[in-house]
């Protein structure tokens, strides 16, 4: 298929349809309104259904019902709306219902602002809901990436029978870029028929979608089975990319989403000046690519983590490299994007040995 110039929001919607998703339940919130708006127009055209839910609480529970009945379904929202889905998310994971949830992150906390941010990293990766559960968290850095990853998201959800999150800063939804929606692609995981779904028990025993297990031994078994599943995701689903890491470098930058692109621009600019800096980009934020990052960090003298938050992923970066080398943090907040110049300045200062202006050793005390 030819490349189209599309808004990220629309590309996400179109890619979901190409991945055979025919259902969307959602509630408006800036800066992702173009996703439900697009779905409200497109889904009826392809025989699908769009429902504007009364709230994000309701939307996430509609997902729960639809996913439980075997449908491919997704919703999207932005930070405050995602917080309202935390109970349902825990239920989805507990009852093993595959759905896809997109968070187009805006600045917080609270009502905050509507400009891009990445401050929901903790919520997404550490579990904003209650109980022992995990979700694969995908982080696109371009419109094409968003379209590709959401298609995989449906497959991953179905394969593991677990909710999958895709989180992007607001730019991912708002910008237009050339994108190719890969029609007729193969699923990224082998998929079994959904014989567990609630579709009417004609000729079989009732199927039950449920997370209540009153017997503690049974619940413990369930918890351990889930844990084993999450362990297998940690083993099999780690995704990442690195740039300019073939040669030598003193600094390794770690960043995801749009800031990673900004960092890449900085890396290229520095390269032109003869300074080699590596870039490491986690694509799955959970499972986090601890081992690959550590490996890539071996050549460096310091890691610089760049985020649109006051420092969240930096904790995982620190965990990954442990005490092998110092981990610095540079972040912008409030909806402000980092610029290539800022990144260049940070790197230059680090190379000069100085603690760069505005940077701090993020994370733990």
């Amino acid at each position: 298929m030819a490349k189209l110039l599309m808004k990220g929001a629309e590309a996400i919607g179109e890619a979901a349809i190409a991945a055979d998703c025919r259902l969307f339940f959602g509630y408006p919130i800036t800066p992702q309104n173009e996703i439900p708006e697009y779905m409200s127009l497109r889904l009826p055209q392809v025989g699908g259904t769009f429902v504007q839910a009364e709230s994000e609480v309701a939307a996430s529970n509609m997902l729960y019902g639809a996913g439980g009945s075997g449908a491919r379904v997704f919703t999207s929202s932005s930070s405050p709306g995602i917080s309202l889905m935390m109970e349902a998310l825990s239920y989805l994971a507990g009852a093993e219902v595959p759905v896809v949830i997109v968070n187009i992150m805006r600045a917080g906390p609270g009502l905050g602002g509507i400009l891009p941010a990445q401050a929901d990293y903790f919520q997404a990766t550490k579990g904003g809901g209650h109980g022992d559960y995990r979700c694969i968290v995908l982080a696109p850095w371009s419109v094409q990436d968003a379209a590709d990853l959401i298609m995989d998201a449906f497959d991953l959800a179905d394969f593991y029978r677990n909710p999958v999150l895709m989180i992007g800063d607001a730019l991912i939804a708002q910008m237009m870029e050339p994108v190719e929606i890969r029609e007729g692609r193969k699923p990224c995981k082998p998929l079994a028929p959904k014989d567990w779904a609630t579709t009417g028990n004609k000729g079989r025993k009732p199927n039950i979608i449920n997370s209540l297990i009153l017997d503690p031994e049974d619940l413990e078994r369930h918890n351990r089975r889930l844990k084993a599943k999450f362990d297998s995701m940690e083993r099999d689903e780690v995704r990442w990319a690195s740039y300019n890491t073939d040669g030598d470098y003193d600094i390794l930058i770690a960043a995801y989403g749009t800031p990673a692109r900004v960092c890449l621009t900085a890396v290229n600019e520095l390269k032109e000046k003869g300074v080699n800096v590596g870039l490491f980009r986690p694509i799955t934020l959970w499972p986090f690519p601890y081992a690959p990052l550590r490996e890539k960090a071996k050549k460096a003298k310091a890691v610089l983590t760049v985020e649109l938050s006051t420092g969240q992923m930096v904790e995982d970066v620190r965990t990954a490299v442990c005490e092998d080398l110092p981990v610095h943090f540079y972040g912008r907040q409030g909806g402000i994007l980092v610029t290539p110049d800022e990144v260049v300045e940070q790197v230059t200062a680090l190379l000069g040995g100085a603690r760069p202006k505005g940077a701090r050793k993020g994370g733990k005390a």
């Binding site: 490349k3 110039l5 800036t30 800066p31 509507i114 400009l115 730019l171 708002q174 910008m175 237009m176 870029e177 050339p178 749009t258 692109r261 900004v262 890449l264 621009t265 900085a266 290229n268 994007l337 610029t339 290539p340 110049d341």
Partner: protein, 181 residues
């Protein structure tokens, strides 16, 4: 070569649209492009702008703080963005609506009577096309044919509008090339 542009004007002037057309034309020619609108709770009624990057290499930041090209279709936009244009950059001013000259001396300023020219072309709403044409004429960043393809796609089925826009675009191109105002 990487062109980083900010296109700004009033809400109804169609800056988002010409931004998209530029990006589309770039994409047609196999370039890397990105388009990003300003968005905010207060955008209504006020000014409106978008950022377009057209480049030979993958686009890093789709957000641009210092564009090398700036189109100002109204006065508030000029006031806001003039200082950010990179030295040696291009500043295109819609002199139909903007009653002042550029203050920057280190940029290449192009004054275009976009509204008047549009009226002359028979489509008063096509001032944005005139400006777009002027930019393309001046820089050659993308081919005129590619922009025409973008226009044709945007107004698919509306042959009359397409032709009017072509006309406005071409007048703009001529102005951009310094051939005529």
């Amino acid at each position: 070569m990487q062109n980083e542009m900010i296109l700004a004007g009033f809400g109804g002037q169609g800056v988002l649209l010409i931004g998209k057309m530029l990006a589309y034309a770039g994409m047609k020619e196999g370039k890397e492009v990105s388009w990003l609108p300003s968005y905010g709770p207060e955008m209504r009624g006020g000014t409106c702008n978008c950022t377009v990057v057209v480049s030979d290499k993958p686009v890093g930041s789709p957000v641009v703080k210092s564009p090398n090209i700036m189109i100002a279709l109204n006065r508030p936009s000029l006031d806001k963005f003039e200082p950010s244009v990179r030295p040696e950059g291009i500043l295109l001013i819609n002199s139909s609506l903007i009653d002042r000259k550029a203050e920057r001396k280190d940029v290449d300023v192009l004054y275009v009577r976009a509204n008047e020219v549009a009226i002359e072309c028979g489509s008063p709403k096509a001032a944005n096309m005139v400006a777009l044409g002027a930019l393309v004429g001046k820089t050659g960043m993308v081919g005129v044919e590619s922009v025409k393809a973008a226009i044709a796609k945007t107004f698919e089925g509306k042959e009359k509008i397409i032709q009017l826009n072509y006309k406005a675009l071409e007048r703009g191109v001529a102005i951009g090339k310094g051939e005529a105002q």
